[in-house]
Amino acid sequence: MMPNSLTLELKDLCCDRDERRLFSHLNAQIESGQVVQVAGPNGSGKTTLLRLLTGISHDYDGDILWQGQSIQRHRALYLSQMLYLGHLPGTKKALTPQENLRWYAGMSTAGKTVTDTTINDTTINSALSKVGLYGFEDVPCYQLSAGQQRRVALARLYLTPAPLWILDEPFTAIDKRGVAELEQAIANHAERGGIVILTTHQDLDTQHFKNIGLRTIDLTDFAGAIEYDE
């Protein structure tokens, strides 16, 4: 189902924000089956790094290579294999969870995806029930609680065939049981050969990740020595 081996390579990545060096000479090779936790204190550039990896932002020096090819040059290809979940849920409050996910399905790879799984209402409803929103399919999102709205966004994880998941603080506003389920989903994804890159301030429950490579990239290790120009 998934390509056998995937690699995301960060080569000598440097990023400045407002004349402040967030990180520099960041080298990493991330491969199929790995879960990578990007760690670091507030303001160390975790979200910035994830946004670089999604291609939303491209203010960086160095290279980001997906399968050995620059993500900027093979944009559509890369984007069709990536799922990004940011701080903001990317769902419309006026719409129901089902409508939100239908939009997402249309926006990802047209229902026809890399693996030819089609996303339809049945799969959308089953994804919603997996995140505990069974019975809320037709309730407008503004009537849902903050955690439930977050879960609408998380339901994408159960819909997407994308092998690369980039998750920014996925556990925000999710209850304990939800966190455990989400960790399980992340671990399952890695076991199937996918890649997960995430930021979180919670400690991941190692029990879920015992069979797979759980790595940490600590941004403080790459924190920029401020380089003064002569």
Partner: protein, 257 residues
């Protein structure tokens, strides 16, 4: 840098339409992207959202109605005076009503994070912008075009002016929405973008206003007006091709910052 560009000719076509990677080192699966599915999904979503928040849509229309109703009260109820003012008045107010609604074009998407999702969709942003602009036009330009004849009666527009009024507004508001999308995209990342938006967009609206209003006034004086409509049509064709590109580029910059 130059070396990498030389690797393969198809790698030069940088954006979303390029599919096959030129190098054979690591074969990637080619995404099966149907260009219209992103367009259709966004169109459907935006139309649904628009209908569920009808108050926002009614805003420009009500502005249009109120201002035009005020004109005879403020200036003169004299038929001849009003007939003279009618074409320009209707056009100016339609333009302002459009401008009023522009700020929201990308703002809500920006605030709830769906703009990020739009940008990282494998679909070309060009079509997605067109789809959002189309919804914007259906929710502002089209209602303005439909109500304009009624307001024409209020301003005693001569009979021969109605067809050009409808035609010029239908084409012209399309151009206004498309050009407006550029300004809206440029200012979406700013907290108070309203004033800047008007300053960016107003100069670009002037030619549309001149030819739109002139089509109606020529017609009501009994002169030919097809020339002005043709120019408006040319504006529309050009805006359709270029404005979504500019807006898409502006969105990438706004979200990046």
């Amino acid at each position: 840098m130059t070396l990498r560009i030389l690797q393969g000719p198809s790698s030069m076509t940088s954006d979303s339409l390029s599919t096959a990677p030129a190098t054979d080192t690591a074969p990637l699966e080619i995404p099966d992207i149907n260009l219209w599915s992103g367009f259709a999904a966004t169109f459907k979503r935006d139309i649904t959202v628009a209908f569920r928040s009808r108050g926002d849509i009614a805003n420009p229309l009500i502005f249009f109605l109120i201002v035009i109703t005020m004109v005879p009260l403020g200036i003169s109820p004299e038929r001849d005076t009003l007939a003279l003012l009618a074409p320009g008045m209707i056009w100016v107010v339609a333009l302002l009503a459009t401008l009023l609604s522009l700020d929201g074009l990308f703002r809500t998407d920006y605030e709830d994070g769906s703009l990020e999702q739009l940008l990282i969709s494998p679909h070309p942003l060009y079509f997605i912008v067109i789809s959002k602009v189309l919804v914007h036009w259906l929710m502002t330009g089209l209602p303005l075009t439909i109500t304009a004849p009624i307001l024409g009666v209020m301003l005693s527009l001569p009979n021969q002016g109605y067809m050009p009024l409808i035609a010029s507004l239908a084409i012209g508001t399309g151009v206004l929405s498309l050009i407006g999308a550029i300004g809206s995209a440029l200012t979406v990342g700013l907290r108070k973008g309203g004033l800047l938006l008007s300053l960016i967009i107003m100069p670009l609206y002037v030619p549309v206003l001149i030819f739109g209003a002139s089509a109606v006034s020529s017609a009501s004086e009994g002169f030919p007006f097809v020339g002005q409509l043709a120019i408006l049509g040319a504006f529309l064709a050009m805006a359709m091709i270029l404005a979504p590109f500019a807006a898409a580029g502006a969105l990438r910059i706004s979200v990046n910052g």
